[in-house]
């Protein structure tokens, strides 16, 4: 491209060509951020020498100095799993919402609450345990990588050698708690990732733009998090305030008009691109003309699940429970080696390098709650709905992972159903593959009504895409959208040169051009014919 511009002389052009070359060289004057040295060496604290019976005792030791930390944590969504949405009035959070993966956390506690930032939340009908020592400091502050909340222990690591995954023969050893306690530090990517990369039951399953490839990504996967790039931790953007982490999927800041956050001027929450890049970050003015209608992520996250970890795109629960001739559960794989069927979970489709789904979005997400009646005659059901429209100045075009699948609903009450998939009891789906029993149990345990009649309905769910930003040269080209086969085809409400047109204007225009050409050709032919006649 630079070559083409160079073909046209002029000082301005040479300058802009050089600027373009510099941009595409992709090495602006920045490097991995340096961090201030700590003011405390935790190996020198007596309280951290151990021995510790369990992780709660480590917490007690932490709280001897960090006296307010537990109280702060208990105020956050990370602890309550409740989110009061200011715009919609809905009470959301893991405690309340249903999704299209394993349904609800409720009734699957020891499994789902293994990601609670605490210990021992075994019954979600009750609030999390009250004791300050129930707060889990280590999941966020371990720097050794040896601390791991065991998936079935409601938040605790294992204290005896335990097999995981079940039947694999691999044993997980108890963590060395004194060593971990003496090496605590600021949260890194792997800390947040230990839960957020594995949502939905496995690596990369849920989000599409969050998976274990982000622990140490190269620049082409994520320029901010790459050790060769800015080497950001999650909290460099998801800045915190007394342990409360900024940036919410329920209420996204879809258009940050505050721009660069300067101490004393703004709220210091950096969970938006504009927080650092400002509202007009491009050298090419025409690109800045896009930012009022197009979110940064739309061009700068050209595809998700790019790090070699597939993400789940389709999950059909209705086929779960098939067993082989020996009544053993079945596992099948697709041509890419991704799991395509599990007796426990039904049919899957996975995706890598997935092009996002695009929609107008003002940041507000509304949920179909588990007690809400919906229109069962018109599937698919939208589990969450994106607010926003083309003419709203607060809305922009955003990328999403569109999660689809089928999940159980109550045919009489016309509601979605809580699903009891995990549990040592004999009612859970994964212990006996009996849907009615699992649903009945889920209803009893959660108090959510179930008529006894159920079927499966197709659902869709939108997950905002915002991570996995590669170097700028990997952003979308103009022609990704400005073309007949535009990525944004069907987005509506906007005139996109190169994509939008008026069919009648084109028809009339080209007809007149064709008629003119025909007239010229006929006239020319007539001239030839008549001049020959004259000569002969």
């Amino acid at each position: 491209m630079a070559k083409l511009i160079m073909a046209y002389p002029g000082k301005y052009l040479v300058v802009s060509a050089l600027a373009a070359l510099l941009m595409f060289a992709g090495t602006p004057g920045w490097a991995a951020i340096e961090r201030s040295p700590a003011t405390a060496d935790h190996t020198k604290f007596k309280s951290l020498k151990g021995p510790f019976e369990n992780a709660s005792e480590v917490t007690e030791a932490c709280l001897e100095c960090h006296t307010e930390a537990a109280g702060q944590i208990k105020e956050t969504t990370h602890w309550t799993w409740l989110y009061q949405h200011k715009e919609t009035g809905q009470t959301l959070g893991k405690n309340k919402v249903i999704n299209s993966f394993c349904g609800m956390a409720v009734t699957n506690e020891p499994r789902c609450t293994s990601c609670h930032v605490g210990y021992g939340w075994k019954d979600m009908n009750e609030p999390p345990p009250e004791a300050d020592s129930a707060v889990d400091c280590l999941v966020c502050h371990d720097t050794t990588g040896d601390y791991w909340k065991f998936p079935t222990l409601a938040g605790d690591p294992t204290y005896i050698p335990r097999e995981w995954p079940k039947g694999s023969g691999k044993m997980v050893q108890p963590p060395d708690l004194p060593n971990i306690a003496q090496n605590v530090g600021a949260s890194g990517r792997a800390n947040c990732g230990s839960c957020h990369f594995y949502g939905g039951g496995g690596d990369g399953v849920k989000h599409g733009d969050l998976d274990s490839s982000l622990v140490s990504p190269d620049r082409s996967l994520d320029v901010h998090m790459s050790p060769d790039g800015a080497n950001f931790s999650c909290s460099d953007c998801h800045s915190t305030w007394g342990h409360s982490v900024s940036g919410s999927r329920y209420q996204v800041n879809a258009k940050d008009t505050l721009g660069i956050d300067i101490p004393g001027h703004t709220d210091l929450s950096r969970a938006s691109c504009e927080s650092c890049h400002g509202p007009a970050p491009h050298e090419k003015e025409k690109l800045n003309d896009h930012v009022n209608k197009v979110a940064c992520q739309t061009c700068h996250v050209p595809a998700f699940a790019r790090g070699g970890v597939p993400t789940k795109m389709w999950w059909d629960w209705s086929t779960a429970g098939k067993l082989d001739e020996n009544s053993k559960p079945i596992t099948t794989y697709d041509e890419d080696g991704h799991v395509s069927y599990l007796s426990e979970k039904g049919d899957f489709r996975h995706g890598e390098n997935v092009m996002p789904y695009y929609a107008w979005f003002d940041g507000t997400v509304e949920y179909t709650m588990v007690d809400e009646q919906f229109d069962i005659d018109n599937p698919p059901l939208e589990i969450n709905r994106l607010d926003g429209e083309p003419n709203d100045p607060g809305s922009r075009i955003w990328p999403f992972k569109l999660m689809q699948g089928k999940q159980p609903f109550d045919t009489e009450y016309k509601t979605l159903l809580a699903t009891h998939v995990f549990g040592a009891d004999d009612a859970s789906l994964w212990s006996n593959y009996d849907w009615p029993k699992a649903l009945e149990f889920a209803s009893e345990k959660s108090g959510l009504p179930f008529s006894g009649h159920f079927d499966f309905i197709e659902t869709r769910m939108y997950w905002p895409i915002t991570h996995m930003v590669p170097t700028a040269d990997k952003a979308l080209r103009c022609s990704s959208c400005h073309t007949a086969e535009s990525r944004l085809a069907g987005i509506g409400g906007i005139y996109m040169p190169g994509h939008s047109s008026s069919p009648w204007l084109d028809r009339v225009g080209w007809l007149v051009v064709a008629l003119t050409l025909a007239g010229v050709v006929i006239h020319a032919l007539a001239r030839v014919v008549f001049s020959r006649r004259k000569q002969s």
């Binding site: 022609s479 040169p497 190169g498 008549f530």
Partner: protein, 203 residues
């Protein structure tokens, strides 16, 4: 007969540079419109914008030239002889009739040309200019314009005018072949000189 300077140096420069720019603009413009894919949308847009600004500058010079030299009078429309010229192109040219218009350096365009060029200058071009600048500065529209216009309207007007420009070019290029030889109309636009029934101007 005498050799007369009919298209001055600036006029020829203006004509050919304008031709080059208009061809570039049509080529890139219809790509931006989505009619085909050649350079890619991004490069097409950049080239289109550069060519548009060049044409605007060229036009400013041309307008200045037309006013200061009085050459604008060449485009004053007249009905006198218009139908004779039209009759010639429709019939006379086949029957071997002579062109009814006698060109002079003071009136070098026949009545049909005057009308066509005036339409080009006062209708097609201004519509393209105004709609094009509105298109280019879409993001900076003041509220008054933003309330009254949409990008779609502007884009459609711009495209419509581009179609008119394309039709003009096709007809114009063809008409240049209708001298007494195929190139006798084109040569003066290259050399500046044409043999006319008038005494040579003194320089």
């Amino acid at each position: 007969m005498s050799r007369v300077m009919i298209f001055k140096r600036f006029e020829r420069f203006w004509h050919w540079f304008q031709a080059l720019l208009i061809f570039s603009l049509l080529l890139t413009g219809f790509e931006i419109h989505g009619s085909y894919s050649l350079l890619g949308f991004g490069d097409a847009t950049r080239l289109h914008t550069i060519a548009a600004w060049s044409l605007i500058v060229l036009w400013l010079f041309a307008i200045f030239w037309h006013i200061t030299t009085g050459e604008w009078r060449q485009y004053v429309p007249t009905r006198d002889g218009l139908f004779a010229v039209m009759h010639y192109y429709l019939i006379g040219t086949f029957t071997g009739a002579k062109h009814p218009y006698r060109k002079t350096s003071k009136a070098k365009h026949n009545p049909l040309q005057r009308l066509a060029y005036l339409f080009f200058k006062l209708v097609i071009s201004p519509i393209i200019w105004v709609s094009g600048l509105l298109y280019l500065f879409y993001n900076d529209w003041p509220a008054v314009i933003a309330g009254a216009l949409s990008l779609e309207t502007v884009a459609l007007v711009h495209t419509g005018a581009a179609f008119a420009m394309l039709v003009f070019i096709i007809a114009h290029v063809y008409m240049t072949t209708m001298g007494h030889t195929l190139t006798s109309h084109i040569k003066p636009m290259v050399t500046g000189y044409e043999d006319l029934d008038e005494p040579a101007e003194k320089h």
